[in-house]
Symmetry: C2
Subunit: 358 residues, 2 copies
């Protein structure tokens, strides 16, 4: 493991994206999105993804300096063509419109086509919550989820996020993939040489497997809920709902038409779809933040089955990770990420990241 000052990690990621060809603003926004994932304890969506974005720019699969535009709008909705910019640029554009419309009419519902991976979904929900609104963010992704009973994947991990402001800087923060787990968790079990719990992934014959290597090579995740007897069809339904809001509404690529997952930029523009919703709680009953805070506190104070593992409110894990990062002032990266970053620095002729090895 190596430690990197958070500012230095941000500097490095910004420099790489600029060197690849992104404007300063686009690079800074994308780098902040990645840094926040590292800060909040979701390293899969942080520096780990930088190579994907850089390669997408270098191969021309992503054109970061285009301008997104509104194709159609009503007082409460907008349909946006991201015009193949970086996910962060597209998402700031989309969520800004949702926020503006929510302030005017109570709700803003925006769908975006022609976009690229938008990173950690919660980042976009939080953007609305920072404006005293409830924020929702959805995105489609490359096929990895096998619908219940299917041998093959036909939907993405299709995450959703809902973030809402409570009192005293507290918030409700839900950011979840609609698969049982992410591919990264299967990779981790494989490296540790440990079997998978039931309900995570399928083998090539379409049945559940506990063999981590087989699961990793098959690349076919089970939906949230696992098998049919534990209601995995609900997770499948939720993944399909996210696709309905993203690709099916926006006219981007969708479901089985999305390119395979790749870090190399192969396969041309991803043309992903997102959906951003902002809702003003002031339009409903007074006391929203009080009731939300009451719930958050009640959940945290519930008697746990095991006193060593207290009950958490949605988002507590992320908030603790962010607090710890801020106290340390550093983010930590595994050896492989540090090596990949050093190679990228050389390839892009940017100042290497200043890493303190443990």
């Amino acid at each position: 493991m190596g430690k990197v000052a958070t500012r230095e990690a941000l500097r490095f990621m910004t420099d790489c994206l600029k060197a690849a060809g992104a404007s300063a603003k686009a690079a800074e926004q994308q780098a902040d999105l990645l840094l926040q994932a590292d800060r909040m304890g979701h390293p899969s969506h942080g520096l780990n993804r930088l190579e994907l974005y850089v390669n997408d720019i270098l191969t021309g699969a992503c054109t970061p300096n285009n301008e997104p535009k509104i194709l159609k709008e009503t007082p409460s909705t907008a349909w946006v063509d991201a015009n193949n910019v970086l996910g962060a640029t597209a998402s700031h554009f989309g969520m800004n419109i949702a926020i503006k419309k929510a302030k005017e009419t109570g709700v803003g519902w925006v769908t975006v086509k022609g976009s690229n991976h938008y990173g950690m979904a919660g980042y976009w929900g939080k953007k609305a919550a920072d404006n005293s609104l409830i924020g929702m963010a959805y995105t489609n992704t490359s096929p990895l989820l096998a619908p219940t009973r299917s041998k093959k994947a036909a939907l993405g991990t299709n995450p959703l996020a809902v973030v809402a402001p409570a009192l005293d800087g507290e918030s409700f923060y839900l950011d979840m993939a609609t698969t049982a787990v992410a591919v990264g968790k299967i990779e981790m079990q494989m490296r540790k040489g440990e079997p998978l719990p039931s309900g995570w992934a399928q083998g090539p014959d379409g049945t559940e497997t506990n063999d981590a290597t087989l699961a990793f090579n098959t690349g076919c995740l089970m939906p949230l809920g696992g098998g049919e007897h534990t209601s995995g069809y609900k997770g499948y339904g939720l993944a399909a709902m996210v696709e309905l809001f993203c690709g099916i509404l926006s006219g981007s690529n969708y479901g089985h038409h999305i390119r395979s997952w790749s870090h190399t930029g192969k396969g041309g523009p991803a043309n992903l779809g997102h959906c951003f919703v902002a809702l003003d709680p002031e339009c409903f009953a007074p006391g929203f933040a009080d009731r939300l805070t009451d719930c958050i506190q009640h959940w945290r104070n519930l008697e746990p089955a095991d006193p060593k593992t207290p009950v958490m409110a949605p988002g507590d894990k992320e908030k603790r990770a962010a607090k710890a990062t801020d106290e340390r002032g550093t983010v930590s990266y595994v050896k492989q990420q540090i090596e990949t970053s050093a190679a990228m620095a050389e390839r892009l002729k940017v100042t290497p990241m200043d890493v303190k090895l443990d």
Copy 2:
């Protein structure tokens, strides 16, 4: 088992609700809501619930002939006080507003307080889909779901529904509780003397149990996803999200403040919260119904792991049940329901339901 002509079942449920004191319109709307659940293969939400509604009226816990009213509105939102009417009356009122606003501004987002059980969530999503809109419906319910790590329940089964119109009368139809399973499924295992699959329910010590009787007596369901190692905290987060949209936004009772589940009308008005959203797909990319139909067909045609169990699109199970009901012209009820209905006919002095016993 006994068979009842669907019209006769509707007549009987309407008569009972009228005899209890509901107006003809309120009784008809509530009875149709129950009949559709029986028709679509969700008997737990059909005739099975009639006693609950009748008792709520007779004890004064529900006042069916009040008028719901709008407390606050913007071009795209409304906050409604259901004024303690039946769930069907409150939900028609709420979803009608959402539909009207969606036709005007693209979106209608309505929250309702002071309501009662609104039956099968999909019924309300479908109401919007029948108007060429995407319909979403959420409701809070009495505490039954234990947040991950908690010994006790603190949220309801909090269902959500999303329904969207496709081509040729097809639709996307998702209606799901955010618990792994409903209490009824545990009861069924108990009656069969069979153990529970993992991830369904907890015992009194807060750990997962496979003992159906213990689980039934404890009344503490696990969220969709089951235990923490299979991401049950996502199901917990979804149940909390539904509460955010319902009780926390509308100012009704919420979460741990909701009365315990009861068929006796004890505990006074339920003061439940609902949320209805309607969204006009015409505000986004042309071709919505084509893309949705493409997905539905793709999912159905996926190669299944077991050729005997083909892959289904969300809602296919309900549509098949409805088709079979319509072809038979009858709904089927178990012995206990028939006996309860006969007793209710006598108690309320209404013509007993005409049942053909098998």
